[in-house]
Symmetry: C3
Subunit: 313 residues, 3 copies
């Protein structure tokens, strides 16, 4: 038992969203994988092997606030299942884990992956997690380097269904920078998706500004590549030790195979009851054009109001 | 890890039941969600926020003794997934949780929800648990007040699929009283189910007597309401600190849309090996008439013999 | 929390296998229930009841390294879900648990059930685990006796789908011996499968030799019984406290209803980074004839190379 730490996050609240279906109805919901912070319960451990070497693992389950259901059918450790070795040289991990792109973007998403189902940074992260992933991370001074190879497990074609990434982050005092490149193949190994991201954040006093850019080009069997660009900018402002405001604008732009735009303006506030528990509130105003209306059941606009409590354990 | 307590209950034993199928065969089984006490493993925690306020959560999994299977497919925390805040004013919780009716009846079910699949009190509890439930509980002296609103999450109709309840319990010395009212709507918001319960228990010396009544009226698309009444009375008697006998009679009465009766006479004994572990034994004699025979594969009678060990951890 | 111990094993690595499909393609994979040691996270506890008596339970989950998925859909505690009482007289357990044959063979499988999906000892163990199993184990000096009855839960026929076993193991100094007998019935109670196993291992200095034999005869609705014999021999050699080599040869022989052979030559090495973490490597050379080619997608040969890290917690 001393070898295992149990931790998690549990978010309870309600969300009101306009225009959730083709008829333009509103809905009031609680059921979600976490509105402000994604729900999780995890088991992790680190063993000191001596000589600076360690062995470590993480097993993390995602669940639904309103129903207690697993995030993904039969995938108990959908959020992370990874084991590896670490040392001064870095860490080498095997299993299901966050992508290099996801870890890179974390430094310059203004909402820091909060409101994962509402903000657009998670959607931009080249898949969020990969199965069968071998990932290296090394930190050398202000620089963190990352590389991964997610096995496709297709007999006779080691490229098919695989993903490969490299990335680097720089963090020094108030400044954080990051970038990543990723290439994925479809299940038959015939079509590539190319992906890159760049971004930065800068802190001054109680404020932090962040901006990011993602460019993805997915080859299609017929016709032009499907290009998706995500871009965003935002600011965090700590009014007091307990109260923080975050405002951000996310734009998603589809070109090539389909054409469309999503604009997502978000304004959030948190009130910390402790280091582990806060109250949160969010307002959004989302605009959808062209093919991006597939994200809004065909509607041109959606607005959200969400309030709740989030508890870390 | 210090933030999380792991707890649970595991019940192992065998049950012999007569007339389990249309051919009138008997069956000997172990597989169940717990014969005497329902199986569970849970994770819970409470954080002191200062000023009398706390944050708390419970995540509780149900599993099958004989197979290790989840009680409900893909619902990891089928028994409870709730997070909330508490204080002198009470507690406000969000998530999947026991209904107000269930918590009310607990005080006057002679078997105290033991033998959940055999005794009839669980079946009478207005759904046992609700998804997407917002629940308030406050205790003021001898009185506990409860109210809940379980979101229906149907776009454009906040009433459809929702459930609402209020309840109150009184506990003072040997006496416990309770009552609750509940109203639920079907998925299209066109049919209501009305529900109320009342009951009491009284302790004198080594004995406790309990009695309860539940009245439910479910509107039907065509024809009369389906009325179900559950009523029961029973007695617990502590022969010694280790040995307790419980006898109870549960009647279920269907009228209106269908007509039928179930009579369930139960006699149980427990022998405590410790505060956490006991041996148990149960005899039942169940009679089914009319539409209630749907509960017994068409048979007029069923008898159970169950023995086993239950361990709390 | 003090009542529950969390433990487990997590294996991360890659495996290259030749001839995995009818086209004779090779595959490189990570996804598995554990290549060297089967993945698990478990919760267990023992309560001292006084007078030498105890209550105990185990709940153990199996998961996939590459995906975090449950080993078996919706079966959270697929590896073990058992509760029981123990004392000087032995232990009596109820639930899903390893078969008597599995526990018997453990003493004379040279790979000690490592590489569970590659070595053939697990496949030979009369089902590995039974649902609804009542199992007795008692140890008296050098002898351990085992007996089990796994309920079939078929109404009207207590024999159908049931399994019954007896077994005995002897362990004294360098010598270990074991044998078990098992009989299973099919779901209609019309066909029996008879099974027995015998084996031994002997340690001298840094080496241990093991050999085992299993004979299974499954009645068929039409025609001759399907006979399967598994036989193996192997040696472990500890080159140093940290390095161990294991070599073994497993033969599977099908006769009667179908005819075929599988030969499996395995050579493995482990390097212990600590008592809890090791690096492993494996080479195999497998030959398939006749009906045994159903195990190799019709191919006459398969070879494996596997390397990885295994961490116990």
């Amino acid at each position: 038992q001393s070898n295992v730490t149990i931790y998690g996050s549990f978010d309870g609240g309600v969300r009101h969203t306009t225009n959730v279906d083709a008829a333009g109805n509103n809905n009031l919901t609680m059921g979600s994988t976490g509105t402000y912070n994604s729900n999780r319960i995890g088991f992790k451990g680190v063993e000191d092997l001596g000589g600076g070497l360690n062995a470590h693992f993480t097993l993390e389950t995602g669940f639904n606030t309103g129903t207690g259901a697993l995030d993904a059918a039969n995938t108990l450790f959908n959020r992370t299942a990874a084991v590896g070795l670490g040392g001064a040289w870095g860490s080498l991990d095997f299993g299901r884990q966050y992508t290099v792109a996801f870890k890179t973007i974390a430094a310059y998403d203004p909402f820091g992956y909060k409101y994962p189902g509402i903000a657009d940074a998670v959607a931009s992260s080249a898949g969020t997690r990969y199965n069968n992933d071998i990932q290296y991370i090394g930190t050398f001074g202000a620089v963190t380097a990352r590389a991964e190879y997610a096995l496709g497990e297709v007999p006779g074609d080691t490229g098919a269904s695989s993903a490969k990434s490299i990335g680097a982050s720089y963090a020094d005092g108030p400044l954080a920078l990051g970038g990543a490149y990723n290439i994925r193949q479809n299940a038959t190994g015939t079509l590539d998706t190319n992906y890159w991201t760049l971004g930065a954040s800068y802190k001054f006093g109680p404020a932090r500004v962040s901006a990011g850019y993602v460019n993805q080009e997915a080859e299609q069997a017929v016709g032009a590549d499907a290009k998706t660009r995500w871009m965003w900018a935002g600011v965090n402002y700590a009014i007091s030790p307990a109260v923080e405001l975050t405002g951000a604008f996310y734009k998603t732009k589809l070109t090539g195979a389909t054409t469309g735009d999503k604009d997502n303006l978000m304004l959030g506030a948190t009130y910390a009851l402790s280091k582990r528990t806060n109250l949160y509130g969010l307002l959004t105003n989302k605009k959808f054009d062209g093919a991006a209306r597939a994200l809004s059941a065909g509607n041109a606009r959606q607005r959200d109001i969400a309030v709740g409590v989030n508890h870390l354990f």
